[in-house]
């Protein structure tokens, strides 16, 4: 998966730099618009199909949602402060932070809805977030507590970083981690465009 992502982005950059003339830019924008809607449709189908998560959630109790809520507030606080320091607009900064580590979707959404530059920052910052998560999850699980180790992972806690969390903690934390990733992933397509209009 991650190798496929790197290859696709790098081939794209290479083609854009070497072969594509400026005139085909509108075509690329249209094609990526259709591809985006198609992708969002398949994401929706997956979310709808996995709704059994909501039943499991009922067993654990709504308290468990405090974890994704804290991650949303933490990410937005971090994004806001960084935006102020870097002198970037508040809306853009909150949009970038609302990727919660889901680099492909947030990068694509912001390339499409804002600009290639903001899309690139969103993509890279969420790649970095996943890398930070991979490196810090075992340390946080050991020195703070199990549930906090989910925090840096954000939306990736349901797929790419789930095995690491599961390895570093216990079964219940792994389930909460999945629910957390699911909840945050469902929020990304709403929050990224929402904050952009701030």
């Amino acid at each position: 998966m991650s190798i496929g992502i790197i290859i696709s982005v790098c081939t794209g950059i290479l083609f854009g730099f070497l072969f594509f003339p400026a005139e085909i830019k509108p075509f690329i924008e249209n094609a990526s618009g259709f591809a985006l809607y198609f992708l969002i449709l398949t994401v929706g189908i997956e979310l709808g199909y996995n709704r059994s998560v909501f039943h499991r959630l009922r067993i654990l109790g709504p308290k468990v949602l405090l974890i994704p809520l804290s991650i949303v507030l933490g990410s937005l606080t971090g994004g806001l402060l960084t935006g102020l320091i870097l002198n970037r607009s508040i809306g853009t900064s909150l949009s970038i932070a609302s990727g919660f580590g889901w680099y492909s979707l947030s990068g694509i959404l912001l390339t499409r809805l804002a600009s290639a530059e903001i899309g690139a920052v969103a993509f890279l910052s969420n790649v970095f977030r996943e890398l930070i998560a991979v490196m810090t999850i075992p340390l946080i699980a050991k020195h703070l507590n199990f549930l906090t180790s989910i925090a840096p992972a954000g939306a990736t806690s349901m797929d790419s970083t789930l095995p690491i969390i599961s390895e570093a903690t216990d079964n219940e934390t792994a389930l909460i981690s999945f629910i957390n990733g699911f909840t945050l992933s469902a929020l990304v397509p709403f929050l990224v465009p929402f904050f952009l209009n701030f």
Partner: protein, 90 residues
């Protein structure tokens, strides 16, 4: 933006009510992978065609790292506070 929400909603409805079998879900995830790779290729080409963006790659990298580390740091801080307050003993 509204289009994104419409397509997401249609997808959730299909996934919830269409009674999909395992094969259809597998096909959906394959199509999703294909769509994703295609989009990332387009995203890459937008970056590659944007010469001013490429010359700013160093600044973009530093800014991106700042966003990532601060978002991760405050998430850890907030979740740790929440676990201390509401999940004592875990």
């Amino acid at each position: 933006m509204i289009n994104v929400l419409i397509f997401l909603f249609i997808g959730i409805m299909i996934g919830s009510f269409a009674n999909l079998n395992k094969k259809a879900v597998l096909l959906n995830s394959k199509l999703q992978f294909f769509g994703l790779m295609l989009l990332l290729f387009f995203m890459g080409s937008s970056i590659g065609m944007n010469k001013s963006l490429l010359s700013n790659l160093k600044t973009i990298g530093i800014d991106s790292f700042a966003y990532a580390s601060s978002a991760a740091f405050f998430s850890v801080l907030f979740v740790y506070g929440t676990t201390k307050r509401f999940f004592e003993g875990r």
